[in-house]
Symmetry: C3
Subunit: 339 residues, 3 copies
């Protein structure tokens, strides 16, 4: 199995065997972080990071990843790049991708809702880059998916539940109220990868906060292939019953950018009207001593209480660290000569 | 011949022998890109990139160049640097240059028209840096010249026409209509270096779109020294007759920033009134099976048709790649110990 | 003595022996800059630079420092980081610090007056990061202190006066008029470290331009411990009498941000009303052939005349270079395995 040259826009595009290879390598890279074993995998190679949306965490982990493999990640903001659009003159994605393929070993792209006119356009742009690029395109979070976060989540579950004990465990993917109007990508990716690895999924949110129906259909299909189920709930309390992993996070209402504008202020007001949607110790008592996870940054006091976020079963910092390890593994496998 | 410590603001400042050394080394660096041969030329050295004007492409290629030589290029935006001007307090260029010379092995500067009050001021600023700096100043494109682009163009001609077959070939440097109000630096540098290497030059543009008369006088002188000619044409069709290389690109009218302001909107409107100035397949049939080149990013549909830009004789991606190779060669020769 | 893991927010927090270790190592790093001796101290390690306030010089010297030690410094602007405040949702400093500790070997923070509501808040933020971080926090200049500048100043005095000849020498820390409304951190740090090393301190400024009384009390205490004195003068001329080192620099009036706003324009107007506060050759004649120093960038013509800044006894460029050496030494001792 060679992953060299492969794009990564969603974990669903890769086989389970390929995802397991990434996770195994990520675990080994964690162990061998400061030995010479992987120190020259990307020697003098350049990885371009295209941040249509800014991000401190994602930038930190990708730039560290390239550095630790002996290479270098360039932090690029396409606002200073004149790309052709229907309204303005500029360079085509074809030209941009072909030239960048001459310079870099891979290209990361981050594009979220406030930089696009409608859900799905970010994914289309990633696919357009992938179409023309000769080097791997890796999503660093876009409107639909966040494969590196999904893999970091899964590595966390391998570490804290055990790789061979995920089958039949229940993931509660639950909406949290809050003031950040967050993208769907992390939660959609989480349900996709967890259902691939044999977990039951409970998705819980207030009425109206539906996610992408195509993604839900895929999650349902993944569950069915493993003899598992996707359950959808609007009950902020009973959804916790028997869960093994709780992932509480805010996401925006489908109406947030209905008319091609991103209505952040309205969305925050709408979300704050649901204070009962918080993960706290009382609810956690209904679970089967569940782990608490979150992709961070956390909106403490809204998405989750301090007691849970900083509690005995919280794996948030390990999962954040895993971003580094899985991203190194992805780069090594798709851009280096590691198999 | 040692080029150590030498500034590069224009290829005209260097002897033909020195330019050939850069090009030979660039070709070797292309071949040896991933071997150890040049892997440690700038080990742990820092190159400062000063972007008065933003640029994605130039930043990518310079930062890759430093990384591939074992060093690191810092992306700096002088907007956060308080330089002394006639209007405001701040640091003198003397102080800035002398301190930076203590940290870096070289300094790149990019400054174009919308950051200055009149054509020529960018060149003066580069010269002021060069006056005080103890390390090489390299233009990363300024209002008058773009030596790295000129060298990348020439490397493309060596690759596709043959180093020994340039003598007497005809370069058509032709204006393209478009909506980007571009600087003169690339086209002036192209004519300077091509005339140095024995080519005939035809410069074609609508009436009024004259370039710098001093530069044209120098091109004429270069031509004369090789027994060649500079011809100026206002005919968008017949200028193509017999050309071996076509370089179609927009540039701004001399009036664009006549009064110390950069009138971009007016310039775009003025330029779009000349739709006959586009390089297309019909015109290319008048040439001697000419190569098509362009410094990119291309404004397709204005400067050139898709059929030509993506056609059999287009060398645009190779020339873009050459930016990396010539910049590595320049850095190695002026900042490293390569001869 | 191991300094591994130690934060550096002010030189006063470190023992004199620890500061001397930094300075000795900085001197050795200057000598061995391009040998292999320290080339792998931070191999593949990442240092995060958090610039709440932009800075070209500080960024250049820290990023060079990491590169020369084999590592990499990331230039981060927290404006794209959603930190929790009393007014807005976001991540806690606890979460941010704990995650960053998983990625980086150390974290630098720069935060000055126009990014805070009152003097002291920048220092509190640095302390909050230090409270939660598992890796060293290094101040890259904050409202109260600038330890790296203080160490670079002291290295300059070791180089030009002699390490063993500082005892009893007089430092004139004098206010300069000017148009930049500068922070107190550099001058406060200078007086703290110079008084630790046995110098007499004369602080001179126009009436009203008082510095932090707690810092002055500490300087007085440092002086007393060495049998030296802190003298405060409002005389712009006689303060020069017998000085061995003159450090002339503007700083802002305590009222500048009295009401939680940073009144830069008013402060510049107020400062420019004191043109007699400039360091010039006439005043320098009253000294004991004093060295002139300044942390740069210099506001020539306001803080100091050209003749003095570029004169025979000016050590400004050496001190600027020392920033690189002391920062490398600090990183090596607190983040690497050098002792």
């Amino acid at each position: 199995m060679s992953l060299k040259g492969k794009h990564l826009l969603c974990t669903q595009d890769w086989s389970r065997q390929e995802l397991e290879r990434v996770l195994e390598l990520a675990e080994d890279m964690k162990r061998e972080r400061w030995t010479d074993k992987y120190a020259h995998v990307l020697d003098r190679r350049t990885f371009f990071m295209f941040f249509y949306n800014p991000s401190v965490r994602t930038r930190q982990s990708f730039e560290c990843a390239a550095t630790e493999l002996g290479g270098h990640a360039q932090f690029l903001e396409p606002k200073s790049m004149r790309l052709k659009t229907s309204q303005s003159a500029g360079e085509t994605v074809e030209d941009a991708s072909k030239v960048m393929s001459r310079y870099a070993c891979g290209i990361g792209i981050r594009i979220l809702e406030d930089k696009i006119g409608a859900y799905g356009q970010g994914h289309e742009l990633c696919e357009e880059y992938a179409r023309w690029s000769d080097v791997p395109i890796v999503s660093m979070a876009h409107d639909k998916f966040h494969p590196c976060q999904g893999l970091a989540d899964m590595q966390g579950l391998w570490q804290h539940l055990g790789r061979d004990r995920l089958e039949g465990k229940k993931l509660l993917q639950v909406w949290g109220h809050g003031a950040l109007a967050r993208s769907w990508c992390s939660v959609q990716e989480s349900m996709l990868i967890c259902s691939r690895f044999g977990m039951d999924i409970t998705l819980a949110h207030p009425e109206g906060y539906d996610l992408d129906p195509e993604v839900l259909a895929q999650v349902e299909k993944n569950c069915a292939e493993n003899g598992r189920e996707l359950e959808i709930s609007n009950d902020p309390v009973r959804c916790y019953d028997g869960a093994h992993v709780v992932y509480s996070r805010n996401w925006m209402h489908p109406d947030t950018y209905e008319d091609g504008e991103f209505h952040k202020a309205e969305e925050i007001e709408r979300a704050l009207a649901h204070p009962e949607w918080i993960c706290d110790e009382k609810k956690m008592k209904r679970t089967d001593d569940a782990l608490f996870t979150h992709p961070m940054p956390i909106d403490r006091g809204h998405e989750v209480s301090d007691a849970v976020a900083s509690g005995r079963r919280s794996i948030i910092y390990d999962v954040a660290e895993n971003r580094l390890h899985v991203q190194k593994a992805i780069m090594a496998l798709t851009m280096g000569d590691v198999r």
